[in-house]
């Protein structure tokens, strides 16, 4: 078969899907290459190369702990953010079985939290879901009331929503949990490296590839004094919290990326946030019948989501791909799930024609200009195919 050139060169594709995964940070690449040579041995052994690996692992743990506001011995590395959440939720529920079987979650948590909650429910546990307002923010008073219910073993709240970027009232939730004597699991997957980690958590989870680390590294921090018992068979690794041989080079790279990303954020955060403001302002001006969703102010610096009336979301993403934009959507109405996004549904906003633009570190202003230049015509053309003019 003859080779055909792609319509748009790979070099000109604008990557605007950082919320799915952030490209590898240069600091992570450098640390990874070094650690592949220096940190490959089994950190649990006693010979020189093993002690070297252990030292690198300890150093990475101390760095991550400092940035997230934890003690080093509270931090374990998992094989993904999803695994950190599964272990955090199920392990705390198991550890607090005597306290009760009630789990409180927000309606807009990541699927890893809600899927762990479903396991708990199948296991005859009780799950209470707290709703959100039109901006996707959890009702802090309703959350406080839910956690004060008798037999509450655990409450879960994200720092910020992964689909619409809205920040959650974590500090209020933490105060309510403290008053009720209920541990709070905070899922910081979308904000770690971009915003300071709020205090008051009992269990904290995060994912390295969201901040520019490599894939395959998650963070699970369990505050001293929080009862936790592994839902897995016993294993000696990571303070008996996470099973399996640690990926030391990737963990070292993850820590390097977190350190670098956190240091850059003072300059990069406001820059990305200004670009997001521009998209939030310009899209409804350039495209008729668009709803920009999520909180305009109390939001992540890099995510903006909008829905276009009378447009099929998949068609929109496909056309944007052809025009050289790697972008995703919260909603996948017609794709594999056959269900609209649970986040948009809980918010009561348009679920079709949804686009989530999430800006990676270093994105150029020109990419945003070009996105705003091509979007109106793409939407117009898709609407025309459906007879909407």
């Amino acid at each position: 078969m003859p080779l055909r050139a792609a319509p748009v060169s790979v070099l000109t594709v604008a990557y605007l899907d950082a919320a799915s995964t952030e490209p590898l940070h240069p600091a992570a690449r450098e640390a990874l290459m070094t650690a592949l040579d220096a940190g490959w041995a089994d950190p649990a052994r006693l010979y020189g190369t093993a002690r070297r690996a252990q030292m690198l692992l300890d150093q990475a743990r101390a760095e991550v702990a400092e940035i997230i506001g934890a003690r080093a011995d509270e931090v374990s590395f998992t094989s993904s953010g999803t695994q950190a959440v599964h272990l955090g939720v199920l392990g705390t529920l198991r550890g607090r079985r005597r306290a009760g079987r009630r789990l409180v979650v927000s309606a807009v948590e990541h699927s890893s939290v809600l899927n762990a909650a479903a396991v708990h429910e199948h296991d005859d546990g009780e799950v209470e879901t707290v709703g959100v307002d039109r901006a996707g923010r959890v009702d802090a008073a309703a959350f406080a009331e839910a956690v004060s219910g008798p037999g509450t073993a655990l409450a879960c709240l994200q720092t910020a929503n992964h689909e619409v970027g809205t920040l959650q009232p974590v500090e209020e939730a933490a105060a309510a949990c403290l008053a009720a004597g209920v541990p709070l699991l905070v899922d910081a997957a979308q904000s770690a490296g971009r915003l300071p980690i709020p205090g008051g958590w009992s269990v904290l989870t995060a994912s390295a590839h969201k901040w520019g680390g490599p894939a395959g590294v998650g963070v699970l921090a369990v505050r001293k004094g929080t009862r936790w018992r592994s839902p897995y068979p016993e294993d000696e690794r990571e303070r008996r919290r996470v099973p399996g041989f640690e990926n030391v080079p990737a963990i070292v790279a993850a820590a390097a990326a977190l350190r670098a990303r956190t240091a850059e954020e003072a300059a990069e955060g406001p820059r990305l946030s200004a670009l997001v403001d521009r998209i939030r302002h310009e899209v409804p001006r350039l495209v008729p019948d668009v709803e920009v969703i999520g909180d305009p102010v109390a939001r992540l610096p890099h995510i903006v989501t909008f829905s276009c009336l009378y447009v099929e979301g998949e068609a929109l993403l496909t056309e944007l791909d052809k025009a050289g934009f790697a972008i995703s959507s919260g909603s996948s109405c017609t794709a594999s799930t056959l269900r609209p996004s649970h986040v948009l549904e809980a918010m009561g906003v348009l679920t079709h024609g949804n686009v989530r633009v999430s800006l990676p570190r270093g994105v150029s202003e020109g990419d945003v200009d070009r996105f705003l230049a091509v979007l109106p015509d793409i939407v117009r053309r898709i609407r025309a195919t459906l007879g909407v003019h």
Binding site: E291, L309, Y310, E345, G348, L386
Partner: protein, 107 residues
Amino acid sequence: MWRRRSSGGGSAAETHEAPEAAETRQTRTEPPSDLMIDALGRKCPIPIIMLAEQINVVPLGGVVAVLADDPAAFTDIPAWCRLKSHAHVASYDLPQGGWSIHVRRNY
């Protein structure tokens, strides 16, 4: 995964009242409408496009009933009403699955 309760679960028909609507009705039986749009089997955004095309067929204050079974329509038709300043009156479960979603023309 958190989901609202879907219809067709074998339970008695549920009525989903619009919280903003002033004249919501507490009855479980579906009141009459001025126009019925059959969008069963159609995926979003088609049911909404059909509604937008035909809302002006009914007189001011008239009610359009959209029959739809794409789960997105349950959220998206009330959202369309909000964006377009029409009123979502209520959504009634259909015995065969899906909903009859009532919209009042405001202008």
